[in-house]
């Protein structure tokens, strides 16, 4: 008996270490930002004066008016507070990324409160950890959807997690913004009360393949498509193929679903190199991007590379891959990267975060949290303006709102016919490795090395004409 438990203990130690090293999916790449986090002792004084310095942002709407008496409300709202919830992955696989997203959201709500809140009510931003586990997510949801819960969820981390609460959201009459870019969200049958942000994998692929084939690749484009199996990988690959078919681009290598995490990538790399492609479209993660791009480059293969977000991560610029990323990689995203592009929203966010979290490292993740909070803020403002801060009132307001991201991302609507409100634009960036310094903090402004091309969002004619009928890669 005793030797069994000794053996178990030994195993436990071994497997925990092994699990920590094995880096499933994105964890290794996304954990990079955490390591570079600057220690807090450098300079803190900026934080103390934050509340005193009123900045009066553009979206601020007359908080002083005594409206609260006329506003009706049910759950999550009382005389002087509005409770907004976020079920976030603070200790699971995506924690390093999500922690930054939540930091940006927190900074946003703090500023809203400093400026008088919404309709004179302060925002109580309630964050709970789901550890990237579906049952835990549901438990957190149970707390947040209770009568003393929240009026709106400004974040629900994870695709399966959000899908697991989608039905309950409708039953409870509660709305949520997902931290997930599954293409099925705009479909009301799948997530009626899920208010997605930005465009989807499929449209992103079409836009980028079109743009790169016509503006960056020299001569006729010969496309190679490489992706993970599954909803993310195959939706991205489907988009690239739609673009190729519509634009008459030859697909010389079809590696849809061929990139399996943890497997040997040599056959994929060999196939890619032999195909003679000059444009490579990936739908993977940063670890696989490094493996595939590094492997192909080692054989002397040269092409224009790009891929769906989050195939690329700016932390790759801190690796030996930087020169080749600089010369041949183009980043595609749904929203602006850190300090990129000349828009009022970006200037506003950078200034606000420099005040709130100056010692945190620069990261592309802040835009995501900031825009999530902007969407929730504008929805709640609209609900308050119509005098109805009940959960149902907030949903109604959301369906009538077009969120203005002030140039941080294409504006996002939710109500009406899907094809009228679905976002089709995405962004394309050139990588300039020398702009990025690992360990740079927000205080210095800085850059993550992505330089916006085309001067703003890009939409392909193919995307503009596409009729949305659900995800491009149909799963159910």
């Amino acid at each position: 008996m005793k030797h069994v438990s000794k053996l178990l203990a030994l195993l436990l130690a071994f497997t925990v270490v092994a699990a920590a090293c094995s880096s499933d999916e994105d964890s290794s790449s996304s954990s990079a930002p955490a390591e570079t986090e600057a220690p807090a002792e450098t300079e803190a004084p900026a934080e103390e004066e934050a509340p005193a310095e009123e900045e009066a942002p553009a979206e601020e709407e007359a908080p002083a008016e005594e409206e609260s008496a006329e506003i009706i409300y049910d759950y999550g709202v009382d005389e002087d507070t509005i409770r907004v919830g976020a079920i976030a992955d603070l200790s699971g696989a995506f924690a390093p990324l999500v922690v930054q997203i939540i930091a940006a959201q927190t900074a946003y709500w703090d500023r809203v409160n400093a400026n008088g809140g919404i309709a004179g009510k302060q925002i109580d931003f309630w964050v709970e950890d789901n550890a990237y586990d579906v049952p835990t997510h549901l438990e957190r949801y149970e707390e947040m959807s209770a009568d003393d819960g929240v009026v709106f969820l400004s974040q629900s981390t994870g695709s399966p997690h959000t899908a697991a609460i989608a039905e309950a959201l409708v039953e409870d009459g509660l709305g949520a913004i997902p931290l997930s870019w599954y293409s099925g969200w705009p479909d009301p049958e799948f997530g009626e009360n899920v208010f997605e942000s930005y465009t989807n994998y499929c449209y992103e692929s079409i836009n980028a393949v079109d743009y790169l084939a016509n503006n960056v690749v020299e001569g006729d484009a010969k496309l190679a498509v490489l992706s993970f199996p599954g909803e993310y990988g195959q939706d991205g690959a489907a988009g690239a193929k739609i673009a190729a078919e519509a634009l008459g681009i030859e697909v010389v290598y079809d590696g849809e679903a061929a990139v399996i995490p943890g497997a040997d990538q040599t056959p994929v790399i060999t196939g890619l190199v032999e195909s003679g492609a000059n444009l490579v479209w990936l739908t993977t993660n940063p670890t696989l991007l490094a493996e595939l791009m590094g492997g192909a480059a080692a054989t002397g293969f040269e092409a224009v590379w790009s891929g769906n977000s989050p195939t690329y991560n700016y932390m790759l610029l801190a690796t030996a891959l930087a020169p080749i990323l600089d010369s041949s990689f183009y980043q595609s995203t749904y929203n602006l990267t850190w300090n990129a592009g000349d828009t009022p929203g970006m200037a506003d966010m950078v200034a606000a975060l420099q005040e709130a979290i100056p010692d945190d490292p620069v990261s592309d993740a802040y835009t995501i949290g900031w825009t999530e909070a902007m969407a929730a803020h504008q929805i709640l403002e609209a609900a308050a303006a119509s005098g109805d801060l009940t959960r149902a009132g907030v949903i109604a307001a959301a369906n009538a709102t077009t969120v203005d991201y002030m140039g941080l991302a294409p504006n996002q609507g939710y109500g009406g016919e899907i094809n009228d409100f679905i976002v089709r634009e995405s962004y394309i960036f050139d990588i300039q490795a020398d702009l990025f310094t690992a360990g740079a903090t927000i205080a210095g402004g800085g850059s993550t090395g992505s330089v916006l091309m085309n001067g703003g969002p890009y939409v392909s004619d193919v995307t503009a004409a596409h009729v949305y009928e659900g995800a491009c890669f149909v799963a159910e």
Partner: protein, 417 residues
């Protein structure tokens, strides 16, 4: 002679499940408390621990714990009773879950599912997992100890790979798919005969979905616990214990090793399969990555903390491992309130809690902190790791061992030295 501890006059009395009056009484009271727990009854609400576990939001956590209890009872049969170390428990749970969704889930053009009722898919999930367990068992006869652990470790990765090859069963990529709900239908009719996943009305009471699910899972757990307890005192149980203590000696005494190791794997996998199906159905949607190594490790930890080889140890370990993160969270919240307030001891709590910049407390209340001070979302993992180390060093019998010590102390009281 009656009522003396450790004095048995027949085999029957020695192998009784609850030999003493005290135990029978304690089990009876415990059972009544468990039955009444989900309701806000005035008397029950005075009992510490139980008072808040019955709250709706907590009840969901308790329900997950009940499912984990079934799974850890299964691993206890294999590892605790049979001495076979397995890291493949999550795989068997996955087999059960995917059997459930294949048999009971809705089918479509891209997903396979037969939409059959729960009384078919729940037993099927256990049976299929048991059959897969039988396939794996021959490996356990060839290798033992660490080698068996490595062999079963491979199962978890085979499972993940299979989920990628068969998106028709596992659903697309990391999105997973919808599981059948916990509801009883006679056949495929529209209205379920008994629905555990929706609020409703039973007899004279309004009852929530969590309360219904609680009773359903509690009933299942009692059946599985009694089965496990009975197994331990049967011929099979004694054979397994003999193999655990010294397999060569057991074989010399005429215990067929192959047969009993196969039985142990089959029964353990049956438990895991049913628990996996329940967990996935309870969550509604699961990605294939949910059945990973960490989940297997969690069950090993449960057995180590609770006390290996004991039903009560497995149950106590599950209670501890599943609920302790929530307790830690509650305590930190309470400490934060204390530290922020002006109470007499606020300075003491402030020593632990870091409220902002420059505070020297080692626990940060800021969710977005990484590194030091420790954000409380990662604190539970540290405590959990520390406890495993401490239990291994000082109490290898786990929580069960602590209980035995307490019991023995009071047995001889006031002459306990």
């Amino acid at each position: 002679m009656r009522g003396r501890p450790n004095l048995y006059t027949s085999y029957a009395s020695e192998s009784r499940l609850f030999p003493t009056r005290t135990q029978q009484l304690a089990i009876g009271i415990g059972f009544i408390l468990l039955l009444l727990m989900p309701f806000d009854l005035p008397v029950i609400d005075q009992v510490p621990l139980i008072r808040f576990l019955g709250d709706n939001a907590w009840l969901r956590v308790v329900n997950r714990m009940l499912i984990f209890c079934i799974a850890s009872l299964g691993l206890n049969i294999l590892s605790g009773l049979g001495g076979q170390v397995s890291l493949g428990h999550a795989f068997f749970m996955g087999v059960g879950a995917y059997t459930a969704v294949l048999v009971g889930g809705p089918g479509s053009s891209n997903l396979w599912g037969w939409g059959l009722p729960i009384w078919i898919w729940l037993p099927a999930s256990g049976v299929v997992a048991a059959l897969v367990g039988i396939l794996v068992a021959p490996a356990a006869v060839r290798v033992r100890g660490l080698y068996l652990a490595i062999t079963t470790l491979g199962l978890v990765f085979i499972g993940l790979h299979l989920s990628r090859i068969f998106p028709e069963i596992a659903g697309p990529g990391s999105l997973g798919r919808k599981w059948p709900k916990l509801e009883v239908r006679i056949w495929k009719e529209e209205e379920p005969f008994l629905d555990f996943s929706r609020d409703g009305h039973w007899f004279w009471f309004d009852i929530t979905d969590n309360q219904k699910t609680y009773y359903f899972l509690l009933a299942l757990l009692i059946i599985f616990a009694l089965w496990a307890a009975n197994l331990a005192r049967s011929r099979t149980g004694r054979a397994l214990a003999a193999i655990r203590d010294q397999d060569v000696a057991a074989e010399i005494m005429g215990v067929p090793e192959v047969k009993y190791k196969t039985i142990a794997f089959a029964i353990s996998s049956f438990y895991a399969g049913v628990a996996g199906a329940l967990l996935a159905s309870f969550a509604g949607q699961m990605p294939p990555e949910a059945w990973d190594l960490i989940l297997s490790v969690e069950f090993v930890a449960i057995l180590l903390i609770g006390g290996i080889g004991r039903i009560s140890g497995a149950l106590a370990g599950t209670f501890f491992v599943v609920l302790s993160p929530r307790f830690v969270e509650e305590i930190i919240e309470w400490m934060t309130e204390q530290a922020e307030g002006d109470g007499a001891f606020s300075g003491m709590w402030d020593f632990f809690i870091s409220l902002g910049h420059g505070d020297f407390g080692f626990v940060s209340i800021n969710e977005t902190a990484l590194g030091y001070p420790i954000p409380y979302s990662s604190l539970d993992e540290i405590i959990y790791g520390l406890l495993i180390v401490l239990f291994m060093l000082f109490e290898p019998l786990g929580l069960y061992g602590i209980w035995i010590n307490i019991r023995n102390y009071w047995k001889g009281w006031p002459f306990s030295y």
